[in-house]
């Protein structure tokens, strides 16, 4: 079956290019015409066609609140584990972002320097930021930059203005919140170790 048979929109390639990388298409994204792509996927006719088309290659379009992403049909457990590992690092990040005085929510616009400044002024936030593993940057500012960079790469943020280094929080951020909110922390009371804690992903 050919792609033409599906009567697909001409942006199908772009859509696939974004989502197949594990990224999201958010309605409030403006770079590379992301909002247009969102509108295209969101069009019910297009959605059905794209879904049918991608299902053939074992991808499923998942609809979030104002964003889309791919899930794989019959994903192997190892992949799932990798995904979980990927989200683990976001727990601390979201914790930090949610603890800011000016809470970072969908649509918020901010600069890494603002966050770094706030972290610098607030010991609690500073500790949270320093606690975030994976990053080796020396200054707080660079660390925040790296976080923003990571989140941009994962399409949760979008850099709106390179000159002012201003980021915008995309709709896909809700996905992160959802995943992290569905994490239940349990304490292993039966075990011998005192600090035995674990995560359950609902």
């Amino acid at each position: 079956m050919l792609a033409e048979d599906f009567n697909l929109p001409k942006q199908t390639h772009d859509i696939f290019g974004i989502m197949a990388r594990g990224n999201f298409i958010s309605s409030n994204g403006s770079k590379d015409g992301m909002n247009r792509l969102y509108d295209i996927v969101n069009n019910p006719d297009n959605f059905d066609r794209l879904q049918a088309y991608f299902n053939v290659i074992r991808y499923n379009i998942e609809r979030g609140n104002n964003f889309f992403y791919f899930s794989k049909l019959h994903e192997p457990n190892s992949e799932l584990e990798k995904k979980l590992e990927r989200f683990e690092r976001y727990i601390d990040i979201i914790d930090l972002l949610a603890s800011m005085d000016n809470k970072i929510t969908i649509g918020s616009r901010f600069r890494p320097s603002e966050i770094a400044e706030e972290c610098n002024a607030n010991v609690r936030l500073k500790q949270k930021l320093q606690k975030i593993p994976l990053y080796r940057s020396e200054t707080l500012h660079n660390k925040v930059r790296e976080i923003c960079d990571l989140m941009s790469r994962d399409s949760f943020l979008e850099m709106e203005d390179e000159k002012t280094e201003s980021y915008k929080v995309l709709d896909s951020y809700a996905y992160l919140l959802d995943v992290i909110n569905s994490v239940a922390i349990y304490e292993d009371t039966g075990g011998n170790t005192d600090d035995a804690q674990g995560l359950i992903y609902n």
Partner: protein, 1228 residues
Amino acid sequence: METNCRILNRIVEINISNVKYADIELSGNTCFVGTNNFGKTSLQRAILFFYSANSRGLGISASQKPFEEHYFRYENSYLIYEIATEDKAFFVMVYRHNKLVFRFVDAPYNPDFFFTANDEAMKIKEIIGNLEKRGIYISNQIDTFERYRNIIYGTETDKQLSKFHLLKGNEKYQNIPKSITNVFLSSKSSVDSRFIKDFIANSLTTESSSIKLEQVERQLRQFNEKYSDIETYLKKESQQLIELIDKKYDQVHMLKGAQMEMADKLGSSLRFAETQNESIREASKKKEEELDVLTAEHETLKENIESKQNDIREEIGYYDRTIRDANKKLKAYKEQNVEEALEKNQEREKLQVELNIARREYESLTSNVASIEMKYSTLIEQLRNDKSAYINKINSRTSEIFNHYNELQLLQKNEYNKRDAELKQKRDESLGEVNSEVTAKQIEFNELKSEEKVIRTTRFYEQEIKDLESELAELRAVSYKNKSERAIKQNMVQTLQREWEALELKLKSSLSNRVNQTNNEIIKLKNEIKDIEGKLNVQHDAFYGFLEKNVKNWHNTIGKVVNEKLLFRTDITPEMKQETADTLYGISLNLETVEVVSKSIEEYQFEKNERLAAIRDLEEALNGFQTANNEEKMLAADKFGKQLGEMKEDVKVLTYSLELADKREHKLGSELEEWRHKAGVEVEQSLTGNRQRLNIIEEELTLLNKKKNNLLADFDNQFNKLKVYNDERLAELKERQETEISELEVEKKNQVKDYENKEDELSKEKDTNFKSKGVDAKQLKGVENRMKEIQEALKEIEQYAQIVSDYLKDKREIFDKMPDFIQKKEEFVKSNNDLTTQVEEATRKFNTKRMDLNKQKRAFDEELIDFNNGINFYSNNFRETPVYTKYSDIIERAEAKRTNYNIMDLCTQLLKNDSHFNEEYGAFQRYVNEFAGKFKIDNHFNFIIRNDASQGEYERFAQNLRSFINENKIELSIAETATQIGLVTDSIATKVKELSGQKDKIQHIITLIAEDFKKAEFEESKLIEFIKIRLEESDNKVYKLLKRIQEFREENGLVYNEGLFNTDFATGQKREISGRAVKLLDQLSSAIKEQEQEEIRLQDLFELKFNIKEGMNETGWTHKIDSIGSTGTDILVKAIIYITLLHVFIKESSHRSSKDFKVHCIIDEVGQISAHYLRELLRFAKNRNIMMINGLPNKSGLESHYKYTYQFRREENNNVRIFPSIVTEVEA
């Protein structure tokens, strides 16, 4: 020097650049020889400046000094151009007077005009003076390049200056300097058709006639941004967010208002508590004192009354006792038959008299027998005495016994009385105790009863309820007012909306009508144009073409009689027949007075242009109309929107205040209900407490009564027992007394009988003696019996004498006063009762007042406690919280005022509400962020919020959003965007049309060039067989899109964008058109970005291709012509093409009458061309009245082909000297 035509004859440089003086003749082909950097090009630029008079179009790079500074270094720097004319030469001098200026001098150049005797160049003033002195005309200073060019190219209207022209140019004369400049500037470039294109295009166009893509892109970007903003705004999700923001804003606003109100109340309460604390304490103390005074007064009053009552009670007791004793005595007297005794006592005197009579009678009877009588009387008397002694003895014994027993009885009675008294005392004591207890309880009971009455009549929380009721009434009145105001405003909103809609409809229909009307007119004009174009297209092959070619002045002959339709028919095969010339089918006509009906091609062209202009005018008018319409729409939107916005805001405010009022009413209602309930509960509680106490007291009273009864029964029992014992004892004593007395009486009776028997014996003895002596014993006996009877009766009377005497005494003293005693007692009882009532009343009043005071005091105390608790709570649990910080201003500024709320509740509520507020505010912020995040940071709605925005900024955002909705700004924005898309497409279409309009000119020029190439005598030299040129369609993507937009615009007229964002089915087609327009613009925007081209110029509209054959080499149709042969060939071909172009442009741009002039073609660096070719080239140019000015790096023999050759040499002082080289012109 040639004198039969006009030509730039000479150029003189005085102190120009590093040339001190140079005088160069230019009236023929001229060549400059010199190595690089010696100033060849500078001189050529100076020559070019004569033609172009544009110091910035001389090919001087930006890194080099500008022309003015490099050339005119001194104040006596002059450039002099001498122009030869048909008769006398004139010259123009250029010098710097701040900027470059020109002066024309009506005389041939003479160095004496400029130099002093010392060969020093003069200053301009001196030169002018010098010239004026010589009577030579010198023009005023020409300040602008434009004016200079007008003069040189013969379009100057000033008669004094008009003679100083090189040639007579037409309106397109600017092409001549442009062409000369272009040739000079492009002489170093490779020969590319693109360059030729540029050359032609640049010569035909001005700088402004290109389509600046940056501008288009900016317009497109602006449109796209607006379009995308509107699209984002209209999305369902955005609309939902707007609703959420609106709703949340109201909630947040309300909560904030409530918090502020509460903070104000808290502040008021705190201030009030602080200011009132001392006064309340004082008031409480005062109430306590009042209470003490009241209690003391009451006690005193009570004591007084009680003491009076005691006195009265004593009196009552006295009278009671007296009456009781009297009754007792009376009863005792009655028992002793006092009445009978009294009756008998009344007969005592009578009996005494009767006794005395009987004694006297007896004495008279016994006077004869006195001795016998005496003897017997003595014996009898003695016997009687014995008997009396005996009786007396017995009587004394009886009396002794009687007395003894009486004494015993008395003792018993005394004992009984004593014990009875003791018992009574005991009973009285016990009863007294019980009674006092009962009385106390009774008093308490009465108190409670009166308290209950007081409670029933008391209205608890009266003030609070009253306050709330009045507040509610006020609130309802305000609500009523607000409701009616809201209804009025809503009506006004509807009216305004209807007015607005009507106006919009009117505007829309007028626009629609105007569009239709204009479109119709345009269609009509287009048809006419089409008609004209049809005629023009066919005219070559039609009768018209035939006449043009073959018949001179045919318009004045055939043109007056022929039918226009006939003129453009191609099927009538006209043929020239000499015989019938100037006749109509052989008939000669005088047509002098007949009007010409045929039109020239120009007239047709003019008509077409007129119609095109009419269309443009119509479109412009429509555009104007649309803009005006839009403006009107915007004005209406502004006017109505603002009004509506204000109204809606008012309505919203009213609704909000009504909601608040409703809530407040509800709250107040429930508070009122609560207070009432509380009051009821308070009454109930008080009553219940009272009742319980009453019940307890009642029970206690019952118990006490029972106890009292038991006590009484017990004592009665004891009394009875005592009485029975006493009675028994008395009975026994009486019995013993009576027994002993009766025994004595029997003995006495027997003894007396003995005595009486003896007396009878003696009497009988006496009587016998008397009888013996003759005395009537019977009469005597009768008297004696009578005396005895009376004595007996008296004796009996005497027995009651004491009782009667006592009775009479008592009667006199007591019994007769009894009614008085009763009366007095009753009076005292009444007084006592009155006093009791008085006490009860006083007690009731006291209780009421005490309760009232207690209540007041309790209220003060409670308030004080409440205040203190509140202040403590505020200090410990509120003062340090962020909530305080948030509302500190309000709290600290509040006026001291009593509120219905206590401080602790207010603090708790504020804290609680704040957490709720924070939650709601968080949601509100999230919605605002999400909404603003949907738009670009620089969106034209200005929906932007910073991440660290304050609450005020968030609220302003919501307010602005609300105004945006209320004023229906989206409609305005849509209208603006719709206008913009119209304007953008229109502007693109106009520009494309304008630019495309020049394509005809290009075609014309290309035709001329092609013809000129044909005319060239290449065949003679056989060097170049042919040069062909042709036009092809452009493959520029941006241009193609621009063209499509223009076509779209032509097809759909003015893009009347009602359909933009319109989902109405009725206007679906318009929407589709708008959709296509948007898509096209989008494509154009992408193409511009992709192509990275700054502008679309005339040269982008077509492709130019050459086909050149040189010897055996034919290039074929190609863009580039640098691969024809050797470099020399290339230069030759290039030069030929340039000369051709120049020739064509000069021909096109000069007046037809102006033919006797020559211009220069400046091409630098022709060193690589062969002599043969050069000769060919010079001849080619000469045939076209063009003189060549070329540069050569060194002398190579080529210079011999030029009329003038100048050499350049750099001297030691770095100055350049230009001097003529002596060569012989071989051929020119």
